[in-house]
Symmetry: C2
Subunit: 266 residues, 2 copies
DNA sequence: TTAACTAGAATAAATCATACATAATGTTGT
DNA sequence: ACAACATTATGTATGATTTATTCTAGTTAA
């Protein structure tokens, strides 16, 4: 039992954390190694310690450790070769849109280039999804979107977690309502992007009402089947947040949590 | 050694197939199981056979088999729970933009809903990427795009593999040139979409020259830094192919290989 | 009788430990 | 320079043990 062993969560802990499912050993190792790779602790092209060494480091059996490595391998983070060892792949090969990878990223210092990429992508994809949703959404889809909107409205402004959650649900519901499996699959990306937005944004509370009403406009456009309007409203909505955030990103390094604002983030 | 064992490629075989790297046992099992899941042989929510049974089926050790299951798990295809067994997850949870998953899909009957989704997504993403590329591309990026374009020009019209490869390289290069890591990461999606297009398209050879010149227009717009033009030209280019393909998709079931046309596919 | 709750057995994955196989890589000797 | 050999780290195999969950049966309470 050394430092690292102690650093990864042990067995059954804080059940309030995340999904509630107490993660298994291999999951904890995968998460820790994955985060070290994403954060650059293990640099691109660098060799990881050998399996045997990692077993010692994590105090785990080779089975559990290899399970973790295999998970990372499946996500494109590493590549194992006989005799040569296991290498960190170049970041362009990483499966950065993988749900788990995005989730791992949340705990570490964000890669601003990537965050900028996420916003740019949202700015393109979500308006298109909203447009499709206006055309394709079923009544069930609409109900889900509306429910999320209501949740945003009633969420206390100081309860960031609730605001973020409702916001994510709103946008995710629209992606799903587009009835396009590719867009629907990008819900993870969306959630991560929003999560970063909440963390990075500095424009203190600015005008939550404006953001909220922008969400309302999108909902209304979709409900009324105003296809082009849905597109434009969504673009405007994300534009509000992205300008803000891109400004922060441009500034270079990010100044911690900024638990301040919940406005202008989506 | 039973039927299934014989069905998955044995050790070093046809080196012309795919990446050339003779796949390992776990990779072959993962591929086989993955394709069965994608194809619906193992239905959503269905239980897979137990590890022990799968070991018998594939004639492999638990180690290799568990490695395969873990890979599938990492890609969101399955979910293992103690005592309850291993279950196929709902398709919305699948990591369908994963390079390997997309590659597995190529060998099986395509899910037309998903293919339609790919095209719709391309129609949204690639014009945006082209627009960005016109703004951001380095001279190196341009050189790669041009090289791919040249490869498309000199490729014999009857050499579908060469045409597809050059086509993929052209579009991938533009995604990369956008300097957006999210778009760049979608190169796998693009490659898969194009691959399906080549397989499904029926409009016999139509007008390869037209498609080719459309590619040229995109290249020129990017090179000349005509931002909006790049967007529109790319949209037009993909539009040519998508109309074609969506017509096929609408018809319902797809009539095999259709080794006919190489035009109007991108 | 029915409902709910509890203790225990059964099950399948999770983990551990060890051994051997295989393919790169390094090294040595000619 | 080249071939033969030893080395190394991952790949595969096997069996034992642990753990969490589900199923079952048995008990208790309404």
């Amino acid at each position: 039992m050394d430092a690292v062993t102690a650093s990864i969560g042990q067995g059954k802990q804080d059940p309030s954390a995340g999904d509630g499912a107490t993660s298994s050993l291999k999951d904890r190792i995968a998460r820790d190694l994955g985060q070290r790779i994403l954060a650059g602790t293990y640099a691109q092209h660098a060799l990881l310690p050998t399996e045997a060494e990692l077993c010692v480091i994590y105090g785990a059996s080779r089975t559990a450790l290899r399970d973790a490595l295999l998970t990372l391998s499946a996500k494109g983070l590493i590549e194992a070769r006989k005799r040569a060892g296991t290498r960190v792949r170049v970041s362009s090969e990483w499966n950065r849109l993988d749900a788990q990878v995005l989730e791992w990223m949340r705990d570490i210092e964000p890669d601003l280039d990537f965050v900028r990429g996420l916003i740019e992508a949202r700015l393109v994809i979500e308006p298109a999804a909203a447009q499709l949703a206006a055309k394709m959404a079923t009544s069930g889809d609409l109900a889900v979107i509306e429910a999320a909107y209501e949740a945003m409205r009633i969420a206390p402004e100081d309860d960031l977690a609730a605001c973020l959650d409702a916001d994510v649900r709103f946008h995710t519901a629209i992606l799903r309502a587009s009835r396009n499996p590719v867009f629907a699959n990008l819900g993870n990306m969306l959630a991560a992007a929003l999560s970063f937005s909440f963390r990075l944004t500095t424009s203190a509370t600015a005008n939550y009402q404006q953001t909220l009403s922008a969400h309302g406009d999108v909902l209304e456009a979709i409900r009324m089947r105003r296809v082009d309007d849905a597109h434009d409203q969504m673009k405007a909505l994300i534009g509000i947040a992205s300008n803000d955030l891109l400004a922060v990103a441009r500034k270079g390094r990010h100044q911690q949590p900024a638990a301040a604002a919940k406005a202008d983030t989506s």
